[in-house]
Amino acid sequence: MPDLVSPAARGFGVTFRTMFKKVVTEQYPESGAQSKPRYHGRHQLNRWADGLEKCVGCELCAWACPADAILVQGGDNSEGERFSPGERYGRVYQINYLRCIFCGLCIEACPTRALTMTNDYELADHTRDSLIYEKQDLLAPLLPGMAKPPHAMVPGTTESDYYAGNVAGAVPEQFGQGE
């Protein structure tokens, strides 16, 4: 007669032992789960310390993207309406998260470090439209000390000063121009 008891007992033994181990299951979505710091999540368009945008609308990210997920259209900064230091800024910026495969090639292509990836992975939704992120959805939040563009560069500085790291934050006259 085959032994039916001992395999079952061995199985229950595993169950019993596991009851005393540390739990690895995360109770998502009841409690938020933290990804690893280098996880490729939603993109972000960064700002300079004074709030101007880093993106120059060069389209290199769009060019690099293997999934054709990015659409950029450049724009001409004018003296009255400046979004980034220098001549050019990203007027239209869209990432289609129905296409993006989170490879990060766009990040590597970006010459200004304007585009980086956050750890945010909560990118599910019900409609196509809401999954095409526009520039305002991707722009980094304005931190304290940043003025909302459009506004002029810090007086007395040039585009090169921004890239050389000589701009530490917005000065009073930069506030209020973008309203």
């Binding site: 060069c58 389209e59 290199l60 450049g74 010459p111």
Partner: protein, 798 residues
């Protein structure tokens, strides 16, 4: 592969170990191309004279101690050349030059519009080193600075190749760009900070091998990989330029000159390059019908039904005015629609100043004939310009004449009351005549010269084989003029090239969109021609109109008097008509008006039914340039829903229980082709006698400048910024007799109105005043006077 044409003076040379025979005088860089070797280059351009300015093309020549520029050295018999392909010396020399070029280059590719299609980017990759040894700060300049409203200059990016300056000087004849300073500070600049004033300035953007010259209107709009490019033909004038139209996401972003060595070579004019915003401005996208005096949107079946009923009830009293901007295929559809569906021969494509004599001249001497070509201009012993200003009215003709005049001293003679800037550029000869005296002068030339300045020598030159007479559409304003042109050609053997302004006129003529003329130059009053046409059209020959119908002027005056049942109108503007007021009355008083239009115009405002049609980017088709050469173009927006005029007319024909076929471009073209050439007799050459030149006050001389208030240039402020200043031109003697000095305001008054403009003293005959026809604040149509007629000129503003 044949390496070079077999001619008697071939020399044998060796490039990279490949032995080859090339014609004497071949540049090393061209010969290398023949064996598929591209020597890197910046300043070299096949149509500009070599300067060896950039040094990028260095190659090793056996027996020469140092590498030499391949773009400037002609091969000599037995020469042995080694390019970067087989010579380390050449490769290293090129890398060294590249390192120098980049020493001061900002490398701001991410914000540069040339990025992605930049020869410097490409050649830095293919012929440069990965690392630079220069770590000193780069030279900087203020950037960008406009050199005119269309072009921005970034001096930091310039590699001093002198392509732009050579183009301005050698091709356009507007030597206003210069290389200033020397050494590291060398930069492109405009003389005296005056804008780069040229109708051809946009070409410099295209040939600049870096992003130093960029377009203001294309600025930051796109990258090359976003663009869908389509080969097209310019719809603006009868020069017939090949263009490349670049579109991004359903919008045209820019147009470039495309290479066609038979026609525009590598160039085009700024109008063709920049004027395309109109294509998307206030378009009509759905059919409309008039109800209680107001236009309302209707469905296609409803609109076609209303149009069909309106046209049918006017049967026997209908006319068709197509406008001069349609394609050959659409013109053919109009021509067939008028004869087969409406049963009328009252059709005319000329929505401008025109005359019956001109129509007779076109039927007898132009239609169905391949006139002289650009290549014939290159070879001609003499070119006579009659009622034609090439720079404003067909700019590529100007470039060809200028090139031939500079290269081999082509003699160009302008029979005109005024010596234009274009004539000066061609280094042409001015045979001054009184305004309106063209016909007398032409007859005098036919008889040996008469009192035309230098007449005997011109008359003699015209008798040489290959002589060409280029006549503009303004000859219609000279009574007896068209006849005199034909007579001069007959007397001297010179060939006639008719150069209309609008791109569609020659095609419309060939398609038979002119009363008295059937497709392929067939005279309507020839029974044979009618039989041929009836056969192709599948109609009973008895159903075709038998005698020539009315032309535009007669149609307009009959409609204005309330005598016309219905009018089918294509793309035309009443303000271009000989008498704008009469044209407006005609639209008002015609019993029923069907308008096929792309946008809201004065015509649609008067129409009973408006049927929307496609613009050039939404259809394919063919223009015929002034040479009679077909210039087919492809559809830019393949998914466009708009239908061409031909298709709409076909639907309208069906709604009227008739047919002109499917009406699509391909079937229209095939059907038109099936006619073949007309071998029978042409209609009679007109022989109107020359008009008596009017006496009295200063006579008006006028034409339309290339850049003016035209509807197809709307929405382009940068282009408008390069228009010429509006001025009246009089001679010094006339100015003195009027008591005005250069720069002062004068008022020119005709029976219907007046214009006030500053005056300039210029090379114009006495007792004449020149004005631009359609410039800002200078609409000549409002004067109510025909060119050549006397006007009143007084000092001061009105």
């Amino acid at each position: 592969m044949t390496l070079a044409p077999e001619t008697s003076d071939l020399i044998s040379v060796e490039i990279d170990g490949v032995e080859m025979n090339v014609p004497k005088g071949t540049l090393i860089i061209r010969a290398a191309e023949l064996i598929g070797t591209e020597v890197p280059r910046f300043c070299d351009h096949p149509l500009l004279s070599p300067v060896a300015a950039c040094r990028m093309c260095l190659v090793e020549i056996e027996g020469n101690p140092k590498p030499q520029p391949a773009c400037a050295i002609e091969l000599t018999p037995g020469m042995k050349v080694r390019t970067q392909r087989s010579s380390e010396v050449a490769e290293k020399a090129q890398q060294g030059v590249m390192e120098f070029l980049l020493a001061n280059h900002p490398l701001d590719c991410p914000v540069c519009d040339k990025g992605g299609e930049c020869p410097l980017q490409n050649q830095a990759m293919s012929a440069g080193r990965a690392e630079s040894r220069f770590d000193i700060p780069k030279r900087t300049f203020d950037k960008p600075v406009p050199i005119n409203s269309e072009i921005l200059l970034d001096r930091e990016r310039c590699v001093s190749c002198a392509r732009c300056t050579r183009f301005a000087d050698q091709i356009a004849g507007d030597p206003k760009l210069e290389l200033l300073e020397r050494g590291a500070k060398q930069q492109v600049g405009v003389a005296n900070d005056e804008p780069f004033d040229s109708y051809f300035s946009g070409n410099t953007i295209q040939i600049c091998p870096v992003g130093a010259l960029t377009s203001s209107s294309y600025r930051f709009r796109s990258r090359p990989f976003d663009l869908v490019s389509t080969p097209t033909t310019c719809e603006h004038c009868a020069s017939g330029c090949s263009l490349r139209t670049d579109a991004r996401r359903g919008e045209v972003t820019r147009r470039l000159a495309w290479h066609d060595s038979d026609v525009n070579e590598d160039w085009n004019c700024d109008k063709g390059r920049f004027a395309f915003t109109y294509l998307s401005q206030d378009r009509i996208t759905s059919p409309m019908i008039r109800e209680n005096g107001e236009l309302r949107v209707a469905s296609w079946p409803e609109a076609l039904d209303v149009a069909a009923r309106g046209l049918r009830s006017a049967q026997g009293s209908t006319a068709v005015l197509t406008g001069g901007r349609i394609t050959m295929e659409d013109a053919y559809a109009y021509a067939k629609f008028a004869r087969v569906v409406l049963g009328t021969d009252d059709i005319d494509f000329r929505a401008r100043r025109s005359s019956s004599e001109e129509a007779a001249f076109l039927r007898s001497s132009i239609a169905g004939d391949c006139g002289p070509t650009y290549a014939d201009l290159d070879k001609a012993p003499v070119v006579l310009l009659v009622a034609f200003e090439p720079e404003d009215e067909s700019p590529i003709v100007l470039l060809r004449l200028r090139a031939a005049s500079l290269r081999r001293g082509l003699r160009v003679v302008a029979l005109s009351p005024i010596a234009s800037r274009g004539l000066e550029k061609i280094r042409g000869e001015w045979a001054a005549i009184a305004p309106g005296a063209d016909a007398n002068a032409l007859h005098a030339l036919a008889q040996g010269g008469g009192d035309v300045p230098n007449g005997a020598s011109i008359a003699q030159a015209l008798r040489q084989p290959g002589a060409v007479i280029l006549v503009g559409e303004r000859i219609a304003d000279v009574s007896g003029g068209p006849s005199a042109v034909a007579a001069l050609a007959a007397a001297t053997g010179a060939r006639i090239g008719w150069v209309p302004r609008r791109a569609g006129e020659r095609g419309a003529l060939e398609a038979g969109a002119l009363s008295g003329l059937l497709p392929g130059g067939r005279p309507l009053d020839d029974a044979n021609a009618r039989a041929q046409v009836a056969q192709v059209w599948g109609v009973d020959v008895a159903d075709l109109p038998i005698s020539a119908g009315r032309e535009a002027a007669a149609v307009v005056s009959s409609a204005a008097a309330g005598g016309l049942g219905a009018l089918v109108v294509g793309g035309l503007e009443p303000r271009d008509a000989a008498q704008p007021a009469a044209m407006r009355r005609a639209l008002d008083n015609a019993g029923f008006v069907v308008s096929l239009e792309t946008r809201r115009t004065e015509v649609t405002d008067h129409a009973d039914v408006v049927l929307p049609v496609a613009v050039v980017t939404e259809k394919s088709g063919t223009f015929i340039d002034w040479e009679g050469r077909r210039r087919p173009f492809a559809r830019v927006f393949g998914d466009a829903l708009m239908m061409s005029d031909g298709r709409v007319l076909a639907m309208l024909a069906e709604a009227m229980d008739s047919s002109i076929g499917r009406g699509d471009v391909k079937s229209l073209r095939t059907e038109l082709d099936s006619f073949g050439p007309w071998t029978g007799a042409r209609s009679a050459v007109p022989s109107d006698s020359a008009a008596v030149v009017q006496t009295g006050g200063p006579h008006l001389v006028t034409w339309r400048l290339l850049l003016d208030e035209a509807a197809m240039q709307e929405g382009e402020p940068n282009l408008a910024g390069t228009r010429r200043r509006t001025v009246a031109v009089v001679s010094a003697a006339t100015a003195a007799s009027l008591g005005v000095a250069a720069g002062q305001q004068v008022t020119v008054t005709g029976p219907a109105g007046s214009v006030s403009v500053p005056v300039d003293i210029g090379s114009i005959v006495d007792n004449a005043v020149w004005l631009p026809s359609n410039a800002a604040d200078c609409a000549i149509a409002s004067l109510g006077v025909a060119p050549g007629q006397p006007v009143r000129v007084s000092g001061g503003a009105a």
